[in-house]
């Protein structure tokens, strides 16, 4: 924790978060390589958010035979005047799971166990890639421009709260 | 003075959950000022930062510019609505 959540009630299915995520990490817009996504049914408009729950899940870390998924400390500063600021304050300290690309052998164990389908083989580097909370300034939250309420927001649990003190 | 109502944008409600703001004023201009005092977000729905009115203000379905503008007199039960000069559609 903390981790990004997409509210399926508030999300309008504009995919701005995926665009911003890919541009930030790939230096170009390439949403097929985004690290989160909103699954939209075009007929019914039903929406299901897919994000990495970081240490609140850690299935990929457990499954990795090479200890390539590492827990790192992180300080998250949400860009923009968003509800997460009122809820979680300006700055949130916590842990994030990141891929150590030296150790990753692209064996795919984590790809199969991820419950939200957000860790995959990178098409160019052929190692796993996943959400790393943009080194503390999540672009998905910044560009979630749902005019009224934040659809893509930062979720913080009790463990993190103790860490803040 | 007349009791008139300003319709809030869809999805916006007053503190007590009503979809319109009740004003007690003689003219449309006064009623809008009261509504803005109660619902500050309404200011930028009607006026630019420099105070110029850019949106269309309707009194019982008629644009107030077809009458006396902000000085148009109000009567009890009058209904007001604000619509930006939208395009397309």
């Amino acid at each position: 924790m903390p981790h990004v959540m997409i509210s399926s009630k508030k999300c309008t299915g504009c995919h701005m978060c995926e665009l911003a995520c890919s541009a930030y990490h790939e230096n170009a817009y390439r949403p097929s390589v985004a690290r989160l996504y909103s699954e939209v049914n075009p007929t019914t408009g039903a929406i299901k958010g897919h994000t990495c729950l970081q240490t609140a899940c850690a299935k990929c870390q457990e499954a990795c035979p090479h200890d390539a998924i590492v827990t790192k400390e992180i300080t998250v500063r949400v860009k923009g005047d968003y509800p997460s600021k009122e809820k979680n304050g300006e700055v949130v300290k916590g842990y994030v799971l990141v891929v150590d690309e030296e150790k990753c052998t692209n064996c795919g164990e984590c790809y199969d166990v991820c419950p939200t389908n957000v860790i995959h083989e990178h098409p160019d580097r052929h190692v796993a890639f996943k959400c790393d909370l943009c080194d503390g300034e999540p672009q998905c939250i910044a560009f979630c421009q749902n005019p009224h309420v934040l659809a893509v927001d930062l979720k913080v649990d009790k463990k993190d709260k103790e860490l803040q003190a | 003075m007349a009791k008139a109502y300003l319709k809030l944008p869809v999805g916006m409600t007053t503190a007590d959950g009503r979809a319109e703001v009740e004003c007690d004023a003689a003219t449309v201009g006064e009623a809008l000022e009261q509504a803005i005092a109660l619902e500050p977000r309404m200011r930028l729905r009607i006026f630019r930062d420099d105070g110029r009115m850019y949106a269309g203000v309707f009194l019982n379905g008629r644009n107030i510019n077809a009458r006396e503008g902000l000085d148009t007199a109000l009567e009890d039960g009058d209904k007001m609505m604000v619509v930006p000069p939208l395009s397309g559609g």
Partner: protein, 601 residues
């Protein structure tokens, strides 16, 4: 190359082959993208005065340079052709996510020529283009069915552009559909797909759109633009209420076409106005890469889905005397699934009701009667029963039964939801629109009716407004609509020329003045005028009763008002003078040179 992919995909349906060629960057410098680049390609690709139905005449899909980035509302696609309905240029705009997917697959434009020997679906996955027989599985499907089928059979993430049964039957206003509810509606490119035996294109792209060597710098600037210009209070109406808000306003102002344009005020509007739709609203959605999200979903009488928008409420509601929201929802859903443009459909059904009520010809349709009304779209799309007559279009249908004056169209394209007798400026807007009866090129309504900053019952100064508008305050004129259609931005973001300059600065990698932005718009508009003159466009005019002294309404808020024939003709001449055109609307050599238009008649 940044923002552009620099690649055009050519599809030859006759041979079942495809090829990729470089995008003409010289043209892209002058005409940027979208409408501008589309018209420049049409000038070359379509032989002068040729038959719009000819196999070698293309339908062109053109993206804007900002499609596939975080620039809000720029995910729109423009579909272009020489229109089989009007015989002049047609540029039809649609949202959804098809244009961004085209960019990610590696294409700025797709040029579709030829006629397939048998019905076909074209699938594109990055560089792999395949021609898949459309029979028996796909031909005949509704627009939602074909999309689901291609997601199942081709790629779950595929974006689809398709025709419904109406396109297969080559109905003049069959539209192209994408993401279920988005329609490139008007002008007949759906009919051309039907003639070309092309049921759908499904596309999937996994590539990228570059925006300079530092995407993070672009993201930071774009974040500023969003906070300052997109998510501002004045832009949120589309997200909160949407275009149904216009229904009550237009009817109250005597501008809503009612019972085949016999009044401007619809006595049943309370049943289909915004308050009625808000009561049955289920959810709100957005097009791809759009922070505003204007798509309103509703559910009533067992029908659930997106829309209707104001134009459908006016032409399929007021114009047909239908104030029953469930019937309107059903009619709209039928048109969506059949792939029919609701403006032209509502116009011909209203006309058929008028002819029936006047005892000229019994179509079994009457104003306000739901039963026959709900059967009309299917009959029209399949050309069965009264459908054959309806498919003629307003001008031919009214003429066939001896009442040409009852057809409300300009250059054979049925008029949308604004009666100029209630808003005089629209008379010049309709007459000079470059594709026929269309409201999207100039929208005096914003100032005359909604903003109320201009009197609606005079043509004083209106020609100037139709040409230039005042986009920073509200009304979009023709020249700035040409800019928005070139970038491609949607109308529901009230972007200003100064803000466009800030985005063009990223595109051209130099400082951009507002005047540069205006130049692009005027250049694109003049290119369109030359194209239409080359295709022998009929003189600019609108149905007489919309300006003649004896054409005034007798009921409704705009009763008794008429522009006057003399006043209308003079305003038209004033329009030409402002544009630097002669009295027949032919641009002067000086104007073309000043604007850098690189073609001549």
């Amino acid at each position: 190359m940044d923002f552009y992919k620099g690649r055009v995909l050519r599809i030859d349906l006759s041979a079942g082959t495809s090829a990729v060629e470089p995008l003409n960057m010289e043209w892209a410098q002058k005409y940027v993208g979208g409408k501008g680049l589309l018209l420049r390609y049409m000038w070359e690709e379509i032989a002068p005065k040729s038959d719009p139905w000819a196999p070698e005449n293309p339908v062109i899909l053109m993206t804007g340079p900002f499609a596939g980035t975080n620039v809000s509302t720029a995910s729109r696609l423009v579909v272009g052709c020489k229109s089989p309905q009007t015989g002049i240029l047609n540029d039809s705009y649609v949202g959804g996510s098809f244009a961004p997917e085209m960019k990610f697959a590696g294409y700025d434009a797709i040029i579709i020529k030829g006629e397939s020997p048998q019905p076909v679906v074209v699938t594109i996955k990055d560089d792999v283009v395949s021609f898949v027989p459309a029979e028996p599985k796909y031909w005949g499907l509704s627009t939602s069915e074909i999309e689901e089928a291609l997601r199942r059979d081709f790629d779950p993430n595929a974006k689809t552009l398709s025709i419904g049964p109406a396109g297969e039957k080559q109905i003049l206003w069959a539209c192209l559909s994408t993401d279920q509810y988005h329609k490139a509606g008007r002008g007949g490119h759906g009919a051309l797909w039907g003639r070309k035996n092309l049921k759908a294109i499904a596309i999937r792209g996994t590539g990228s759109v570059t925006v300079g060597d530092d995407a993070k710098a672009f993201l930071d600037d774009l974040y500023r633009i969003h906070s300052e210009y997109v998510l501002t209070e004045d832009n949120l109406w589309a997200n909160e209420e949407g275009t149904p808000v216009l229904a009550q306003i237009m009817s109250d102002a005597g501008v809503m076409p009612t019972r085949n344009w016999s009044s401007g005020t619809f006595d049943g509007v309370e049943g289909i106005n915004s308050d009625s739709f808000v009561k049955i609203r289920t959810k709100n959605r957005a097009c791809y890469q759009c922070a505003i999200g204007c798509r309103q979903f509703h559910e009533a009488g067992g029908v659930a889905g997106e829309g209707p928008e104001y134009e459908t409420i006016a032409l399929c509601g007021g114009n047909c005397g239908i104030g029953d929201i469930e019937a309107l929802m059903k009619f709209n859903a039928e048109c969506d699934e059949l792939g029919l443009d609701t403006i032209s459909t509502g116009s011909v059904v209203g006309l058929a009701m008028d002819l029936t009520e006047k005892g000229v010809k019994d179509f079994g349709l009457r104003f306000g009667e739901v039963e026959g009304y709900l059967k009309a779209p299917a009959l029209l799309a399949r050309g069965e029963g009264i459908g054959a007559d309806l498919a003629l279009g307003a001008r031919a249908l009214a003429t066939k039964y001896g009442h040409p004056e009852l057809a409300m169209e300009v250059k054979n394209m049925e008029l949308p939801g604004y009666d100029p007798r209630g808003a005089f400026g629209m008379s010049i807007g309709y007459a000079t629109s470059d594709r026929g009866g269309c409201h999207m090129r100039a929208y005096p309504i914003a100032d005359e009716i909604v903003g109320g900053t201009l009197p609606p019952d005079t043509l004083e100064g209106k020609a100037q407004k139709v040409v230039w508008g005042n986009p920073a305050e509200g009304m979009i004129g023709e020249n700035f609509s040409a800019v928005k259609f070139t970038g491609i931005w949607c109308d529901f973001w009230a972007i200003t020329p100064e803000q466009v300059a800030q985005l063009f600065k990223h595109l051209w990698k130099r400082e951009v003045a507002e005047d540069d932005v205006w130049k692009v718009g005027e250049r694109v508009w003049n290119l369109g005028r030359l194209y239409n003159l080359r295709e022998d466009v009929e003189p600019d005019d609108i149905p007489k009763k919309l300006y003649a002294e004896d054409g005034a309404h007798t009921t409704g808020a705009s009763a008794g008002r008429s522009i006057g024939t003399e006043t209308f003709k003079n305003a038209l001449q004033e329009f030409y003078q402002i544009r630097g055109w002669d009295e027949n609307g032919v641009p002067s050599e000086a104007k073309l040179a000043e604007l850098g238009v690189d073609v001549r008649l």
